[in-house]
Symmetry: C2
Subunit: 227 residues, 2 copies
């Protein structure tokens, strides 16, 4: 995928003192001095954590991206908001027999799977359309217990209706946002609507507010600290 | 089109005393007693105004719908939020040489045209997709001076980016919402995400609030009263 991300940051573990942060890449280009800085930090025995609000990729996919840029980073050092969503469900003992409806990218589906959960929707629903006719009844899975919303370049009316019905009609269904960033750097030259756009759409149709798991929420940092 | 609307109301002109209101149809079925009630009101010399937040159709299209249900209503008696958007621009002397980007249905494009404005986007952009690659630059028309957002069953990332860029980058570009209803009765059996969903999405990506021209804003009633 040609999707880029210039929000991936390295964070050193000085929390709760504000951690040192720096952006790693822009598009497919490393920021100047990054390899040397990371090497220096490692040589001093610092524990590095790489954090991104971009939920389109899984940690595994981000590790590959690091490798493609010539930097050795392990999956365990990466904390994406897709992983955060899965960990939020894990920490809060979400019943694994329930399903999770995803508005967002493959990264969320993959992280849910790794955490033992069943994600439905996501890229699979990207080309689905709705037929609005008299007596049309849009069916949704009553076993969905959570809806996770992240940045979604294939957002459509089908997904909006699906997520809305789960949140509105499935008792106790949780509404999770990977983050609420207004924009994301999906390409090198300009900003694009971020997860905050899709999340707001679901807020608009459900009249509910989400649990935010990515930055700037504290879930992520609290989770990292406990680890 | 099989699209239905059960929000279309008849309003008698007793404003500013709260007007009498009643829903006319559900789906393609008239509410019991409506033809008799309308006849009775007309026989008493009441001025009738038919109001809907649904912007998918133009007044002309709504007049046809009335006729198909056996009721004689003229275009001039109908006040849809698509018409309200066009009238807002007219009343506020929007320069006709500027364009209006539309996220929503044909009704908005048609009402803009009747008011002497050029609407772009709308249904035409319903099947457009975006290719996210390094160096992709999404171009938008710099002469767009207003973005009108209504209910849009063909909402996509292309439209969200287009509307967002106009509002964010075109100096003085106005952001108009037909209404902010969370849901709309697009089919007989259930509710669907309403204009409030698409409007919220654009609020999320632009971090701006719209001017609302449909119910419950006062623009509509003020305009009716002046007429």
């Amino acid at each position: 995928m040609g999707v880029t991300c210039n929000y991936l940051e390295v964070t050193t573990t000085t929390y709760p003192i504000p951690p040192e942060r720096g952006v790693i890449w822009k598009g497919d280009t490393l920021i100047d001095g990054v390899p040397q800085t990371l090497e220096m930090l490692r040589s001093k025995g610092k524990k590095l954590v790489f954090v991104t609000n971009n939920s389109m990729k899984s940690r595994k996919q981000y590790a590959h991206k690091f490798q493609s840029l010539g930097i050795q980073v392990t999956e365990e050092e990466i904390f994406s908001s897709s992983f955060a969503a899965a960990m939020y469900l894990k920490v809060n003992e979400f019943p694994p027999e329930k399903k999770v409806y995803v508005i967002g990218g493959e990264g969320i589906i993959e992280e849910l799977k790794l955490a033992g959960f069943t994600g439905i929707g996501g890229p699979e629903d990207g080309k689905k359309t709705v037929q609005l006719k008299a007596n049309t009844l849009f069916e949704h899975d009553k076993s969905v217990g959570a809806v996770v919303v992240g940045i979604d370049q294939y957002i459509n009316y089908y997904k909006l209706q699906y997520g809305t019905l789960c949140i509105r009609e499935n008792p106790g269904c949780i509404f999770i946002a990977t983050n609420r960033d207004a924009t994301g750097n999906m390409t090198d030259l300009q900003e694009w609507p971020g997860a905050g756009c899709m999340v707001a759409a679901i807020c608009g149709s459900t009249q509910k507010e989400p649990i935010v798991v990515g930055k700037p929420s504290t879930f992520l940092m609290d989770f990292l600290q406990k680890k």
